[in-house]
């Protein structure tokens, strides 16, 4: 049941528990227990909302920053990753294979604010060798959801 349950709530965390039980073909109490267990185990880490900020009047700028670092003895990348993720402006930090080490995603109110964060806070950290900042111009698809187009049923309305 776990995998099915996770797949459903990953797409719709607001689904009614009773309905969840019905479509999974189990009892409601089992769903409640399973979700509580997965919260405790840290499998379910939160119930977030996917927002297309572009459509609001709120100004927001997102950036992806490639970061090259010198790993530290005994601690690898963990210590520097922690230093970076503690900044609240940072929304994600990933260790990456390939041409650079850490991928940091960032949200700020303006280009200026994001640039300032990179030049004043991120780049000067010792053990950071270089950064490359990419501003996101448009989000086509996020978390598996296409933001630019709405689903339209193109089928004939009645077919045998």
């Amino acid at each position: 049941m776990r995998e099915e349950l996770l797949k459903i709530i990953e797409k719709n965390s607001r689904i009614d528990l009773k309905e969840l039980a019905v479509i999974l073909g189990v009892e409601e109490i089992d769903v409640v227990n399973e979700m509580a267990a997965m919260e405790a185990e840290g499998i379910i880490c939160g119930y977030h909302t996917l927002i297309d900020w572009e459509k609001t009047s709120i100004e927001k700028v997102s950036a992806l920053i490639e970061v090259r670092v010198t790993p530290q003895r005994g601690q690898g990348f963990d210590r520097i990753a922690e230093r970076i993720y503690k900044y609240p402006e940072v929304s994600a930090v990933y260790l990456i294979s390939g041409g650079f080490d850490l991928l940091v995603t960032l949200e700020g109110k303006s280009l200026k604010e994001v640039s300032a964060f990179v030049s004043d806070k991120l780049a000067p950290l010792e053990s950071i060798l270089s950064t490359a900042t990419h501003f996101i111009l448009k989000k086509y698809k996020d978390h598996g959801t296409v933001l630019t187009k709405k689903y339209e049923d193109q089928r004939e309305k009645i077919t045998p």
Binding site: E4, K7, I8, E19, V22, I23, L24, G25, D153, R155, E156, K157, I158, T159, P160
Partner: protein, 395 residues
């Protein structure tokens, strides 16, 4: 001027769905539960292979029976899925949808006056195709109390010395019924004893929710008397690509191939390339879609229970077939009133045979969100009818 028409074609009734189609098309804000095709898009990697084949200039006819590569993949699929061995060179024919395969299988196998057994409720094309092939369609009326499965007794009762073919439409459109291995074993005995052939339409074979679909060709002594029909439309959400196939004994496939080559030439080339990708790398997509259908199926069964609408639990395809007989209306009246009063379209059971009277077909090839809205309206409608009935009884 002389009558330009063939007497035979004029006697064939147009599809019973047409009337509803016309009304619904006019009604702007109507929502439909009447669709017989998946709501999913064809998985992107499959579409991509179709596009890529066009880019490479694969725009010519394929051989009449289909691309060799595709026929081999079809055989691989039938082996891994059912343990069935077919020879890709002589026992497989790629067709324009399962529909073409049904038509040419009948035309290749019957002589004028031969009887073809057609269990109903079932898909709308078997009966007219039998008539067009100069066969005599003999309808077997399946029963709700058997969950619309075909029993050995029903089969026996319908057989005469003219009977040649049984059309076996499971998993079933419109009822969602399946035939489990034991059900098939029971009828296989009769089929062999009476020396019949089977045209087994397994287009919904990937969409079962209890046990994996069993093909009647798997049973001992049945492969040599079965034309197995399947296709890509339902399993891979590829209806518009128009691609199906028929597998069976070489002498039958050889004759079907003649009709196919003269009438069609070959199935669409682009679709065949896309289908190769579907067979090679599509199993996960099918599993994902099946799971979603199953969730909706459970949702519907629960909703019917809550609104007190009787419905046997179907384990196949993407249809449920609830009984509306208690409201004292025909299926057609029920569907018409439901459409007029609640603006939701369903298909009356009678569109799939007279014995569909008292039932409606509801498709769950819709997202849960859409189903919820439509089923909410069905609950209102059913509630109102029940109240009307009670008041009627009091008077």
């Amino acid at each position: 001027m002389r009558n330009p028409l063939s007497d035979k074609i004029v006697t064939i009734k147009p599809s019973g769905i047409r009337k509803f189609f016309d009304i619904v098309s006019e009604m702007e804000d109507a929502i439909s539960l009447g669709v017989g095709e998946p709501d999913f898009d064809t998985p992107w990697h499959i579409r991509d292979e179709g596009i890529y084949s066009l880019e490479k200039g694969r725009t010519f006819y394929t051989s009449n029976a289909g691309l060799k590569e595709l026929k081999v993949e079809i055989c691989n699929y039938l082996r891994r899925r059912f343990g069935l061995e077919y020879d890709p060179t002589h026992e497989v024919l790629v067709t324009v949808g399962g529909s073409e395969a049904i038509d040419i299988a009948l035309r290749a196998m019957v002589n004028p006056g031969d009887e073809v057994l057609i269990p109903q409720p079932s898909y709308v094309s078997y009966e007219p195709c039998a008539v067009l092939a100069d066969a005599v369609p003999v309808i077997i009326n399946l029963k709700a109390e058997n969950e619309f499965r075909l029993t050995a007794q029903e089969l026996l009762d319908a057989i005469t010395d003219r009977t040649k073919i049984l059309v076996l439409p499971f998993p079933n459109n419109p009822t969602g019924a399946i035939m489990e291995r034991s059900d098939l074993e029971a009828i296989a005995k009769v089929i062999i004893e009476k020396d019949l052939f089977v045209i087994s339409d397994e287009i919904y074979g990937e969409l079962t929710y209890k046990e994996k679909h069993v093909s009647i060709a798997e049973l001992p002594g049945m492969k040599e008397r079965t034309i197995l029909i399947n296709g890509f439309s339902k399993a891979y959400a590829m209806t518009g690509w128009r691609l199906g196939y028929a597998c069976g004994p070489a002498p039958i496939i050889e004759q079907m191939l003649k009709i196919h080559q003269f009438a069609i030439m070959c199935a669409p080339t682009t679709s065949q390339y896309a289908a190769v990708e579907a067979m090679k790398n599509g199993d996960e997509d099918v599993a994902e879609m099946r799971e979603q259908y199953n969730q909706r199926r459970r949702y519907l069964m629960n909703a019917f229970k809550e609104m007190g609408l009787p419905c046997f639990e179907p384990y196949g395809a993407f249809y449920v077939f609830p009984c509306i007989a208690e409201f004292g209306m025909s299926s057609d009246e029920f569907a018409t009133r439901f459409l007029e009063e609640e603006k939701v379209a369903v298909v009356p059971g009678t569109a799939f045979g007279d014995c569909g009277e008292g039932f409606i077909r509801i498709s769950y090839a819709y997202s849960l969100e859409n189903l919820k809205v439509a089923i909410g309206r069905l609950a209102d409608f059913v509630g109102r009818l029940k109240k009307e009935k009670q008041e009627g009884q009091r008077c």
